[in-house]
């Protein structure tokens, strides 16, 4: 792909905010968005009047049953009487909303952007998973009684078969991330668990078991992005967004290579080129890769070229991806530990890289001295990769 990598403005992240992530939160979607946005503004030393435009992200409307989410959220997200955009690419939305915020600033259109993502999955009954039934093709897939976990299980099993990966090695991801989440202030499922706990948990769709999966969550997150000129007015410690990338594979998911996420390989390549990164494994110091399932962390590491094909489980077993390892992955605790309010979870990941690079992650701070980090999300019908690369 040919790509313009010369932009009008270098883009900085200068503030972040989060709510708790929980199975059910009493606040309305607007109230949650407001809490996260307020916190991000305070963190950046700004007020809403300083903001030029607002980007909002949330996943399928069917979760909270309000089929006009963007407009409904305008007040809570701080978009009232401002240029306001809602973006949506399923689970990839959180990081994609940051990419959309980035292009507002990089293009020179705006200088100061508030990015907000919010999700309430709890309103859907009997279980939010049933809402996912309606994302499938009504002619070829839905009549078979498809459950969302089928397609992940099918992909996980193909990946395990292709590279001869054991369930024990995949379970290590869940153990690591839930343990990391014990140190995260928003975390829903921080816990000390063992590989045996994962392997003994309820089998939902073999090879997927209950502890292989992130929870259903409510929550919100927000970030402030500005041009270089304004970043320096507000802070001495901006974190630069030096690369963005996104890419979609076909929605005919049964026609794809299930063992390797090509969409992410292309999205990563786009972001690396923009950031001038030639050897991701050496140049990325810390990464938040999308982990709604434990195998997905491994799959995504390989798609991002942070590991060779089939190598991610080995790096995990050797401890390379722990906080004190050479390539810490998901020091926040990820979706498996912190929770998965879909779009908000993507913001949580970008926020973690922001804090890690500013050395503000407290007990979660990685042992090495990180200067370059990556955050990634994944979604739609398992088909999009969204990537941002950040530096100090």
């Amino acid at each position: 792909m040919r790509m313009n990598i010369h932009f009008k403005n270098r883009v900085a992240c200068i503030g972040a905010g989060l709510t708790l992530f929980r199975r059910r939160l009493f606040e309305t979607p607007r109230e949650l968005a407001w809490e996260a946005a307020k916190q991000a503004l305070e963190n950046a030393g700004m007020e809403l009047k300083d903001i030029d435009c607002v980007v909002f992200g949330s996943a399928p409307d069917a979760f909270d049953g309000i089929h006009m989410q963007g407009e409904y959220m305008v007040d809570g997200a701080g978009g009232y009487k401002k240029p306001f955009t809602r973006v949506y690419v399923g689970g990839g939305t959180g990081v994609f909303s940051v990419i959309a915020g980035w292009w507002h600033v990089a293009s020179g259109l705006c200088d100061k952007v508030l990015v907000v993502a919010e999700e309430k999955m709890s309103p859907a009954l009997p279980h939010p998973q049933y809402v996912f039934h309606h994302i499938f093709d009504p002619i070829t897939d839905k009549p078979l009684g498809v459950n969302l976990i089928w397609i992940f299980a099918l992909e996980m099993h193909r990946y395990m078969y292709k590279y001869n990966i054991k369930k024990e090695d995949i379970a290590l991801v869940s153990v690591k991330n839930k343990r990391n989440a014990l140190d995260h202030p928003a975390a829903q499922l921080g816990a000390k668990i063992t590989v045996e706990d994962v392997l003994n948990s309820e089998v939902l769709v073999w090879p997927v078991q209950r502890l292989d999966i992130s929870p259903v969550s409510d929550g919100a997150g927000a970030l402030i992005l500005t041009s270089e000129e304004y970043a320096k007015q507000y802070t001495d410690t901006p974190v630069w967004i030096d690369g963005v990338g996104w890419n979609l594979d076909t929605t005919y998911w049964t026609n794809r290579d299930l063992a390797f996420p090509k969409y992410l390989y292309y999205a990563g390549k786009m972001a690396y080129r923009m950031a001038g990164i030639h050897n991701p494994r050496k140049e990325i110091d810390v990464a938040e890769v999308y982990d709604p399932f434990d195998y997905k962390e491994l799959h995504h590491m390989e798609g991002l070229q942070l590991a060779r094909k089939g190598e991610a489980p080995i790096l995990t077993r050797e401890g390379v991806t722990e906080r004190d390892g050479d390539l810490p992955i998901n020091p926040s605790g990820g979706l498996l530990g912190v929770g998965n309010p879909i779009a908000a979870a993507g913001i949580m990941k970008v926020a973690e890289i922001f804090w890690q690079l500013r050395k503000e992650a407290g007990k979660r701070q990685v042992a090495k001295d990180p200067t370059t980090g990556l955050a990634q999300a994944w979604g739609d019908l398992m088909q999009i990769g969204t990537v941002v690369i950040m530096r100090v």
């Binding site: 708790l20 929980r22 059910r24 606040e27 809490e35 078979l144 099993h157 997927v208 049964t254 026609n255």
Partner: protein, 172 residues
Amino acid sequence: MDKNVKLPGTPYSSDDFKKGKIPYVEDVPKARYTWSAGIAMSRFLEELKNGRIVARKCHECGRVYVPPRMFCSYCFRPTDEWVYVKDTGRVNTAVVSYIGADRGKLGEPLVVAVIELDGASEGMGILHKLGNVDPEDVKNRKVFNMRVRAVWKKPEEREGAITDILYFEPIE
């Protein structure tokens, strides 16, 4: 942000909700949809009634698409030709489901698979159920690359739906 920061948000449990401790409103949307099957899939569904699986071929790249589509996603030009693919194939990947679409437990576990049909382009799989396959053979991965064939409903019971194929079963 350190662990000890207190973040906003008020958690509650489903019990609070059932006991009426949480003010709420409820609504059940009665939305119904009819999806026209379109040009390619109408023919596909008609052919299922005849016990045949029809695909579309692109002459530019040679891809044979199942399910069929009137345009080539890669070349972004019209596909050129209807071709029949076989109702036999091999298993690309398979899993054992213990839950249904609504997350409720299934009485009997269900084996589902991505099946690459003979005559379709490599990697061009479809989703369907597997019958007469021991879940243990899924777990021990014997099912990968297994040769399978479609088991059809009786002709008079077919209705032009993907479920006209009951499931795929191993070819002895």
